[in-house]
Symmetry: C2
Subunit: 240 residues, 2 copies
């Protein structure tokens, strides 16, 4: 899981906030929540989650540290996100402020499967599957083509990280609202322990990857043939 740290309330008000939140209890559970959308909504939902959520009346308070399954964690986060939006949406939307927010929840609890969920503003969620083995939230489109082309169910972890970082690098070039540092958590199935890493703008690997990718793209563009019907200025008037 990779998240950037850039948030903005307009281009004249850009800040850095952590958007990847890790729960790491080695041997018991390791998971991360990545957030997108309205920062006050996602921060409040996560704070509520840390205090504990009652999924329904009469049930115990549960947290990501205590819930028995990843599925239950997704339900709890969905519940927290929906509750926050219900409580603040009327006031915010009256001021034409966008309250939408979404989350990715990924990880594994010992004895259960490794899972990845996308949780929507309304609290419903979907799970990542074999056929589309990645999920994105937030500014997803600029960086999606490389994931669509390169990621499949059997992609090795190091290759997936490489593609994820190229995807972010591409996105950062198109939208100043996405920026370093990036936070990343890599997990391996059944190890129940994560490798957390912060990647700064000057990270040698990330910089080198960006430069190499830029050069490779320029070479790929140059190697493509030009349209035969536009091969010379004399062809310009031909109508087909």
């Amino acid at each position: 899981m990779i998240a950037d740290t850039r948030t903005n309330a307009g281009v004249d008000n850009i800040s850095s906030y952590r958007k990847l939140h890790v729960v790491d209890q080695p041997g018991d559970r390791v998971m991360a929540v990545a957030t997108a959308g309205n920062l006050s909504v996602t921060q409040t939902a996560l704070a509520m989650m840390r205090d504990g959520v009652h999924l329904s009346v009469g049930e115990d308070l549960e947290t990501l540290e205590t819930a028995p399954s990843m599925f239950r964690c997704a339900q709890l986060l969905g519940h927290a996100l929906r509750s926050v939006r219900l409580s603040i949406a009327p006031a915010m939307e009256a001021s034409s402020l966008n309250t939408s927010a979404s989350m990715l929840l990924g990880g594994q609890i010992a004895g259960g499967p490794m899972q990845l969920f996308l949780i929507y503003s309304q609290g419903n969620f979907i799970e990542c599957g074999e056929d589309t083995p990645f999920l994105q939230i937030g500014e997803a489109k600029y960086g999606k083509p490389i994931l669509v082309s390169g990621l499949h169910g059997q992609t090795p972890l190091a290759e997936a990280v490489k593609l994820g970082l190229i995807s972010f690098s591409t996105t950062m070039r198109c939208n100043v609202g996405v920026g370093t540092p990036l936070d990343m958590l890599t997990l391996r199935r059944d190890m129940i322990s994560g490798d957390e890493r912060r990647i700064e703008r000057t990270d040698p690997y990330f910089e080198d990857l960006h430069d190499r990718w830029t050069r490779a793209q320029a070479q790929a563009r140059a190697a493509m043939p030009e349209p035969p019907w536009l091969s010379g200025p004399g062809m310009a008037r031909r109508r087909v």
Copy 2:
């Protein structure tokens, strides 16, 4: 200017409509209007435009065939787009239907400059400039990175067409709402005559370009180094 022909009212209702509309009066003017957004809005605005628009009370009816400048054409189209939206938006938005629509207008009238405008739903517009020498409407993000990296003010026409087609090819892979055939108009400054072309899915150049680009991207991905901190399974637990 390149436009696809796919429109949809939900994924279960996909149709083909021409979205590139050419005015070609060789020697006098050549221009094209590309449309995005609500099809009923853009079709009605263009029909209104063909009948003629009064820019303000007391002025003559004007059309794209008679207006004296590209700037005036942009004003007329903006006026038509705004009028249509004002008349139908209340009824449509009451049914939660999106009435937003936008247009690109590009071309040249003899004696005037070659210009490209982006016209917004509200009727206001911007002109393409040297620093960002392209404009996009509609499903713009998937295909934007290649234009950002490859297009500049001095890019030759054949190279620009090549990049535009790769951009569409990338977009079509990510969104089934964008699809062939593509319509394209290429213009050269001061020739006041256009080269219009329809590109089908089986167009030999377009198919070859797509295949070559797919292979070049796979090669570029494979050539990128993997993260040094994930070079072997034994590294997975290292925390930095």
